[in-house]
Symmetry: C2
Subunit: 443 residues, 2 copies
């Protein structure tokens, strides 16, 4: 379902074009799924809806390049724990009680958060992904989706084998007017055996599908990979053919200079999720060498079990702050760069290259921020205000593929009240189920 | 001006008492400036206003333990620069064009932000402080205020000498029904000569006033202090008598174990401002040894020239994330501890010990968060949701000293639209003035 012709009048536009052009008092005309006028509307343009853009800022919408959206159900469920205990004692145990319906409502809750925070697309890696695809279709969001694959056999009801993953691809590739894209999702080099990584990589090339995988999250993973394969996790994935086609590598925190060169050479996108790294005390990497090598670095929320929310605006600010802090260089990730990572780079990583810049002919994936808030005065530097002071809650309108899906506090595509009620009820049930499972396990 | 009898019905209450008690479906009765009923209203209590607390969370309001509120005028004015260049090339130059009226409107803008974000009190250290006091009185906020003192003579129109500071104390100590407290504010050991520090400390004791000072922000400051005085900045301040009475030391990032012991021994409060430390790439300290030694650690926004906002909720989250990251310990600053730093510890540091906990007989300084937001479901852990997912924009009501000053998006005490317009206009003027000054200086 595409939008009606839409005109945003008298708005300030942060185009995020190569020159960083900012237009004042501009009109943005949208027809179908495309921006058809910028500055002035085209002659004879007759909008069905006019949005008053006075004292608002139009910017390209955010693309959340790595998340596990149904994990909203685990928000607050695994607090103040290091990665290993976080996963083994809390996350995995709760997820053992997960149902397909839980995934639907958990992803729907995440979609509400993402839309309210100015996100137009997300890259999701989880289970029961048909249900996440349903949510993306209903919500009006763009999405790049994959079943998480362990490659170890195991619980068929949760993990997808490759045949199941390909069936998912058949059902959803290009669905929702092309807003939904599918990929293949081997979990990580530490969970997937090399033969499986080779098989899934070959299948991805055969079916022209990108891959989405976790990479090099800790020094221990690097040590283990060196011991098992004689290669860093990055070199190991390259050797298995994982990088022979488009790939999003989530995290990629522990990289040698050779690893960085490999990622650049293969055009791998890296999804950087700074709030998780801080919350789980994982450490972080300097993005400078990746960016200097030309690697496409994007930003993600990760799952709300670690973040604890789906707020890309918070990720943008935290990414800038953490890079400055980590590199002891206040000039790191300066200016509009964190915004570009969260918009054009995310869109490119997910295969939505038509997004990420406001220009005639580009996708109408944009959001409006209300500038009439005390924390957004004065206007010395609109970009700095957006990166460091604006909040997700300042977003007033979200347009995806030319369709208005959020307006002044109302999500126009989802029943938010019902979703919140369902999510609360189901998360409680999942946890009580989980407690039953733990009691049985402990005898 | 105190509030009318007020009843909040059916609210969830995070008391932040010693046991961390959470009350469900409770009533909070407020008479005068005090909580007179919690759980049930007292018999015969007749409120003038009833607030429906359904699906809301009542928590003690935040105390911003270190800020320079009029620096809202410099938001976005000094971006992506290290501390020295940030100060010398941008901040100090702009402030050279500052007027008394600018301070009023800048502080008023900050007050709007603080109120909207659930802040009930702030500790401010700047110039033309009569104007900040006017704002605090009008806004209905609690405040601890001081003129910044350099102790080097200099520009009389900006810096206050001690006589001027004491005159400010005479005018404002206990004003606004006791909501305004005054302190003395020598800028820092690196700006104030030892004789001045001794003089201001003696005056503080004589007049029973606390001190508010910057301390140990960088290793260079420690080296310089050792070279000049043979003492760390902390030991030097102790030797000058600065810690002989109540004192808030802002930052205190570079401390030896002996320094920590000195701060604990003298009951010094430390105001920790994590967003500034990240933004300016200053490094941070492990709060663990300070807390273990019993030092009263509080949280602050610092000035919006470095932060870039006055949002204490963002500071609470960032403090927790940065401690976990910096100490490589996901259990650091766990549970409700970051909230306690931002409430009771801040209140105690500023001399408002009646605040910081919701209990009968304590000050009615509290705020309501709307829990009916997608990012605040599910409810596995209300405290974690508040620390890591709730935003300042979720605050719906702010009550200070029993008086409702914010309700559902409306600040009841200030003309926010006028303040935003004035702040924008005046900040532009300040900057153009500054450009003139720089041109003259460069000849």
């Amino acid at each position: 379902m595409q939008g009606m012709p839409l005109l945003i009048k008298n708005v300030t536009v942060l185009t995020l074009d190569a020159a960083g052009t900012i237009l004042e008092n501009a009109n943005v005309a949208i027809a179908g799924r495309t921006i058809c006028g910028l500055g002035e509307a085209p002659p004879g343009f007759e909008p069905d809806e006019v949005i008053d853009g006075y004292n608002h800022l139009a910017v390209p919408g955010f693309f959340n390049a790595h998340c596990h959206s149904p994990m909203t159900f685990e928000r607050g469920w695994a607090e103040d724990l290091p990665l290993e205990r976080w996963f083994n004692e809390r996350i995995w145990v709760a997820e053992s009680a997960l149902t397909s319906d839980d995934v639907y409502w958990g992803a729907a809750l995440a979609a509400c958060e993402m839309i309210r925070g100015g996100c137009v697309g997300f890259n999701d890696h989880y289970f029961y992904m048909d249900r996440v695809a349903e949510v993306a279709a209903e919500a009006g969001l763009k999405a790049s989706l994959t079943w998480c694959q362990f490659g170890l056999g195991g619980d068929k009801e949760v993990g997808a084998d490759l045949a199941g993953s390909l069936a998912f691809v058949d059902r959803w590739q290009g669905a929702a007017d092309g807003r939904i894209r599918t990929v293949l999702g081997p979990h990580s080099p530490y969970v997937c055996p090399p033969a499986f990584l080779r098989e899934v990589s070959a299948l991805a090339r055969e079916h022209n599908l990108p891959l989405h995988i976790h990479l090099a999250e800790s020094p221990e993973q690097v040590q283990n990979s060196l011991a098992a394969h004689g290669l860093t996790p990055t070199a190991h994935l390259a050797a298995c053919g994982v990088f022979d086609g488009p790939c999003i590598a989530a995290h990629a925190l522990c990289l040698t200079p050779d690893d960085v060169a490999l990622l650049a050479e293969h055009g791998v996108s890296v999804a950087h999720c700074p709030i998780t790294y801080m919350k789980l005390a994982m450490g972080v990497n300097d993005l400078g060498p990746l960016l200097a090598a030309g690697v496409n670095v994007a930003l993600g929320t990760d799952g709300p079990g670690s973040n604890n929310d789906m707020d890309m605006k918070a990720v943008v600010r935290t990414a800038a702050l953490l890079q400055k802090y980590h590199t002891q260089n206040a000039e790191a990730l300066a200016g509009d760069l964190p915004l570009r990572l969260a918009t054009a780079n995310g869109a490119r990583a997910m295969g939505f290259g038509e997004s990420g810049e406001l220009a005639v002919g580009r996708a109408a994936d944009l959001v409006l921020f209300d500038l009439d808030r005390p924390h957004l005065y004065p206007r010395h530097n609109l970009v700095a205000n957006l990166v460091h002071a604006a909040r997700g809650s300042d977003v007033t309108h979200v347009i995806v593929d030319g369709r208005l899906i959020y307006r002044d506090g109302d999500i126009l595509t989802l029943d938010e009240a019902k979703i919140m009620a369902q999510a609360d009820r189901r998360a409680r049930r999942m946890v009580s189920q989980k407690l039953r499972i733990v009691r049985e396990y402990k005898g």
